[in-house]
Amino acid sequence: MKRHLFLGNEAVAQAAIDAGISGAYAYPGTPSTEIMEYIQHSPTAEERAVHRQWSANEKTAYETALGMSYAGRRALVCMKQVGLNVAADAFINSAITGVNGGLVLAVADDPGMHSSQNEQDSRYYGRFAMIPVLEPSNQQEAYDMCYTAFKLSEQLQLPVMLRLTTRLSHSRAAVSLRQSVHPHELHLPQNLKQFLLLPIFARKNYVGLLEKQHRMEALSEQSSYNFQEAGVHRHLGIVCCGLGWNYFREVFVGREIPWPRVKIGQYPLPRNLLEKLEAECDELLVIEEGYPMVEEQLRGFFAAGKPVHGKLDGWLPRYGELTSDQVGRALQITYPAPYPVPEVVVPRPPSFCRGCGHVDAFEALQEVVAGYGAGHIFSDIGCYALAALPPYQGIYSCVDMGASITMAKGAADAGFFPAVAFIGDSTFTHSGMTGLLDAVNEHTNMVVVISDNQCVAMTGGQQPAGLGKLEAICEGLGVDPAHIRVFTPLHKNQEDMIRIYQEEIEYDGLSVVIPRRECLQKATRRRRQEKQKQAKN
């Protein structure tokens, strides 16, 4: 059988197509982006006219997917871990409404913060919403779990979470595919009050969700993704979740594993399976990627009983990504010291591309703001956050999507002057517009710079939601057109840029400045594609 060398993300994408989705919804975010990109390039998705446009943010993505589920068809929604904070309202409530067509949320966590602001563990969200969570340990499982998740979702009438992490999302291995099934026909929910969360209906739905918990637990006990393997040394029992299973087995490659162990791939936890392991062993060690969620739960299960080790008592590090080295050391294995990194090696952090429009826009702004001292520029999530690093070191906040505008407003409300927000075009339409409306309504004295490179650059140049609409959006929200200033950020325009920034900072009110120049990476890709297209014709 033909096998495919898939990234974990690509395996999820192909599985969703093969499970007959009618739509995929997402906002780009590392490490989840490639799921949607794969579906966008899939000939099968094209042939079946699967919806696969980017959404404005994760909340709109989630709600749209829920709407597709309402209409009886299967939908996939993908995001990175912090994206789920944005979609949390819809997500939690979708567990109360339940689903009609299968709804799967693929969410990619980022332990080690390779490309994120935090290490939050989405399994807690799954537990919080009281829905099933599947956690693959390899690319084949990512495929199989995503493929079956749609059926599980329809069986339980609940959304199902597929929890990924950077290492699985961005690692390749061979994957075998299953039979591709066709999308469902449209069909309304049997109960047309299912999606009405007015208190009178929501109370009933919530009781229904609580009643489903037993079935979810029973399914976890039976799941082939949760199983036990025997071992002869019973002083320690091992519980591995997701990728922890790989790191644990890596420690024993070519040797027999001495300890009894349970592998967890489906939540809620299979309590009986774990109690059986506990009964056999003197102590337990939990190896999980992310927060010590299972460790905490097991301490609760076995309150009166045996010690549970892991991240809470320092057997494993509390932060960062798991490695087989750490797991080996937790099991008291000593390794010879590896070569050190020679002292001559210096860090090489990411940097702006040479010729980037953000740089020209930022350098001019920094020159103007320098006259007022440090601490005046609030920034946001995107390539321009690199202005925090040398040689610029000129932004002072980068918290969550859109927070540059609202934090600058809060500082302005406090009497701080000048308050400047520096945000990208896609981040602005993701979560900046509502903050700008607050500022319009209060005539806040601040400058919002929307550095428009006409794409979502950091994640690979995806099409932004507000392309060609930024001035209209700002005007529509009520920004005075006289104080919406647009220019091309090029070094030769330095004098003009400085003058415009200066005028708008001095203006006692709200200004929006839009430096606009296409991302260089995007422009290069676009030209290459155009050339290829020409060559084909």
Binding site: P31, E34, H170, S171, R348, S351, C383, L386
Partner: protein, 195 residues
Amino acid sequence: MKKDIILAGVGGQGILSVAAILSNAAMLEGLWVKQAETHGMSQRGGAVVAHLRLADHEVCADLIHHGQADILLGLEPMEALRQLPFLHTYGVLISNMEPYLNLPNYPPVEELWTEIKRLPRHILVDGGVITHQLCNPKALNMIMLGALSDYIPLQADSLKTGICELFRTKGEQLVQQNLEAFDAGRAFVAKQPAV
């Protein structure tokens, strides 16, 4: 049999292409493969690394254990040294000599070469000279793939097939240029004493 390979370089140097060719060839030759990549922010001119694991048995972890890599391939000398903790004491370091300069405080490159020459098994490839000879500054990654090719359990022909596949959509000329670069890397290493 297992071969754990670390690929080190700077975002934009083409590590992912090297990794893709290697892992596809390995899969076609019936080996187990896992290949962990760096995506996202670091690709903006930062340090990037790929872990490539080939074996005739199941590969468990996506990441290589410290001190267990059989080969460390550096597209750039400082990035090769940054990943040194992964290299086995008897592993082979194969690195391009030429520095990738996008830093104000890049160390004197001779000091990096000195560190590399301390290793019992190393090959320094004069990537700058070879790309110059080929009149193709973009072919460094394929030169380094060629340099690596005699140290891995994969047929050179499978790798060449991989190169053809990868560059097929970009035109015959580019395919040929990359095949030439691959051969130039192989030829360079063939002339060096075996390590």
